[in-house]
Subunit: 413 residues, 2 copies
């Protein structure tokens, strides 16, 4: 079975927005064992949409289209679909009722323009949209099934996951099972990660391993396809167990977990709290740790001490130390960590000082020089790093390196 | 002239990466007066690539393809292109020399696998790649011109801007000029922005105005096409002047400027410094302000006071005030701003306290309740907001609202 995606919208062709819908659907299909063979993008014109559908039908049995279902004049996906199917548009009573109901629930009257969203190709089956006014629909053309979803990512995602994906998979891939797992690695390059996995995971028929950099982490994707879901799950779990051995403590998270969520869980489990003193990361570590709901359970405070004065007055780094060794030094990082830990009364503290660039580097301390200190009362660990790349990359990887030091310490507690 | 884009790569079809290259090229073409009519994505298989080229040739005179020029086995764009053109692959001496030279400059020997990157369709014209080992190439098929670029975004972008865009525009759009300007708006919804622009900008033949939400800002894109570049520039400048009047102080930046860069410039011009006390934004405002190189000129320090204790001990918010009014209150925001300003000795200070959710809301103070205070020694201004949406959206818009208060204050200084 060949699956194709069709993205519809002038704003995509004009490059005003990046098409994240296509990647979302493609990865869901792929993880579940179906692969997309083509992805086409066209603008908001009925003839272009009909032409695109005709072209894709030469290469596919299932087409999932997104966009162009809105109430305004430029939205004409229904018209293009009707043209491709050789049918007329008609007002669909179910779609009209759903749109009316959507407004009713929000206590506002339906705008007359929204009635247009119920004008669908004759024979269309409705796909309900709980989060918006645009119903989706399914249409048959010859032997092919076409699904039309709105382009708003939230609405598309929930309709795709609830309706399209299960139906497509049940109809076409029910006989085999595919299961995908993601392992996230920090501190090993992509080739080194591949080496570590290759040397530990035995080859299996039906097992595919892909590597992908999501800076600064490397994602290892293990995908098993077998006669049924249970066998595929068993195969992928066995392979994951082997990969875990190979990746050892460079493996920091699996699946939907992130460096932040893993650190947060460890802090909670250890009943530990954290405070931060950030210089070159300028609040990024605090921001990451507080991205998570409920972070006030373990996150106490962060001092972003950008100026030397604030390092001295706020967190008590001796002035002489900065004068002698420079603000970017291991000794200053150590005093920052100890100072903020005392100030906050936290179990642990992290401090970062470095040169994120692009200016400010010297021969001795080039751009990318970073010191990270981790204090826990028993002692303070300081690490020196030399990172490369843009200011943004240096700040991002510094944040990761600091959280990874914290993760490793928490694992030992 | 019809332009089509072709993205090549299994990682795109599997949804492992989002295709930002297509949006980048589409927007450059669009801003310069050329529009992309189709965008197709296929995987790494010579027959699929050749088939995609054949299909696109039915709809376009110019094709810009990206991806599949690497040294590994799965990269087979050159083979697909040769198949589509009906020519053989041959080792291109210029491409080989360029790749060799790339390694030479980095002082490492060329890996034998990289020789494959010089195996190009007979008749291909080389497009040099200063940043990588994969040369691009141009190929003629019938009357159409095809450009092949590597998929690595940095490499693609510089080759596209230096070689492809000027050649395409010179060959095809030299007779008319198109100029685009972007105005960035905060504090007006998309429809309200449209209303403000419509009521102030006269309609002109050749002028197109588009609106696009880049949460939480609205971008107004004015694009003028005229007989030549000078007339187009004059037209777009006139329209911009009118739009500026209509948008008034909701217009916060133009072109490549951002809220942060505008605030940074104003701080520098006014010789002012800033300190922050952040609660619900957890370091996000500090992070944004320090994203910019040289931010130590105006950014002194930020205290992320997440716990009530840190609000009291670090920045001197009276304990009784928190007990009486709650940490999320205008009075606490005010004391936070004044406290951190005193501590840092800065010209201005911003403080934020609020409920980012998803939990923690009450009837009186629902999720999204945020207080922002701005102190400058003459007095402290406090604003209350009620934002809606996810934790991430509430934090993002809070950061914008705080920086916008600072921007407006600086404009009056």
């Amino acid at each position: 079975v060949r699956v194709a995606l069709l993205s519809i919208g002038d704003e995509l062709l004009f490059g005003e927005i990046v098409d994240t819908n296509a990647a979302f659907m493609a990865s869901r299909f792929y993880d579940a064992g179906a692969s997309v063979s083509r992805h086409l993008t066209v603008g908001d014109a009925p003839a272009d949409i009909a032409g695109a559908i005709a072209d894709l039908l030469l290469h596919s049995d299932i087409i999932v289209a997104t966009g162009g279902l809105g109430p305004t004049e430029d939205d004409c996906t229904a018209e293009g679909a009707a043209l491709a199917a050789g049918v007329f548009l008609e007002s669909n009573p179910q779609a009209l009722a759903l749109t009316r109901d959507f407004f009713l629930r929000r206590g506002v009257p339906m705008h007359p323009a929204n009635a247009k969203q119920a004008e669908l190709p004759a024979g269309a089956e409705i796909i309900p949209n709980p989060n918006g006014t645009a119903s989706g629909f399914k249409l048959k053309i010859g032997g092919a099934s076409l699904y039309f979803l709105p382009g708003v990512p939230d609405e598309m995602a929930s309709m795709f996951s609830a309706t399209v994906l299960p139906v497509v998979l049940a109809a076409t891939f029910g006989v085999t099972g595919t299961v995908t797992r993601v392992l996230k690695v920090f501190g090993l390059s992509e080739p080194k990660s591949e080496e570590a996995v290759r040397s530990s995971v035995s080859a299996r028929a039906g097992l595919r391993i892909a590597y992908c950099v999501n800076f600064p982490e490397v994602q290892v994707k293990l995908r098993a396809t077998a006669a049924d879901f249970t066998s595929a799950t068993a195969m992928v779990e066995e392979a994951c167990a082997e990969a875990r051995t190979g990746l050892a403590d460079h493996l920091f998270a699996e699946g939907a977990d992130t460096m932040e969520s893993v650190v947060a869980r460890l802090l909670r489990e250890r009943h530990a709290t954290i405070s931060l003193a950030e210089s070159c990361t300028g609040g990024l570590i605090a921001k990451r740790l507080t991205d998570l709901p409920g972070s006030s359970d373990y996150f106490l405070e962060s001092v972003v001490s950008y100026s030397n004065e604030s390092k001295t007055s706020l967190i008590g780094v001796p002035e002489g130390l900065i004068a002698d060794l420079g603000a970017v030094s291991g000794a200053v990082a150590e005093k920052m960590a100890e100072g903020v830990r005392r100030l906050a009364g936290s179990t642990l503290s992290l401090a970062v000082t470095g040169i994120a660039g692009p200016a400010g580097g010297t021969n001795e301390k080039p751009v990318g020089t970073v010191f990270v200190a981790l204090a826990d009362g028993d002692g303070t660990e300081v690490k020196e790093f030399r990172f490369a790349g843009s200011r943004d990359r240096i700040r991002t990887i510094t944040c990761f390196a600091a959280l990874d030091m914290l993760r490793r310490r928490l694992l030992r507690r």
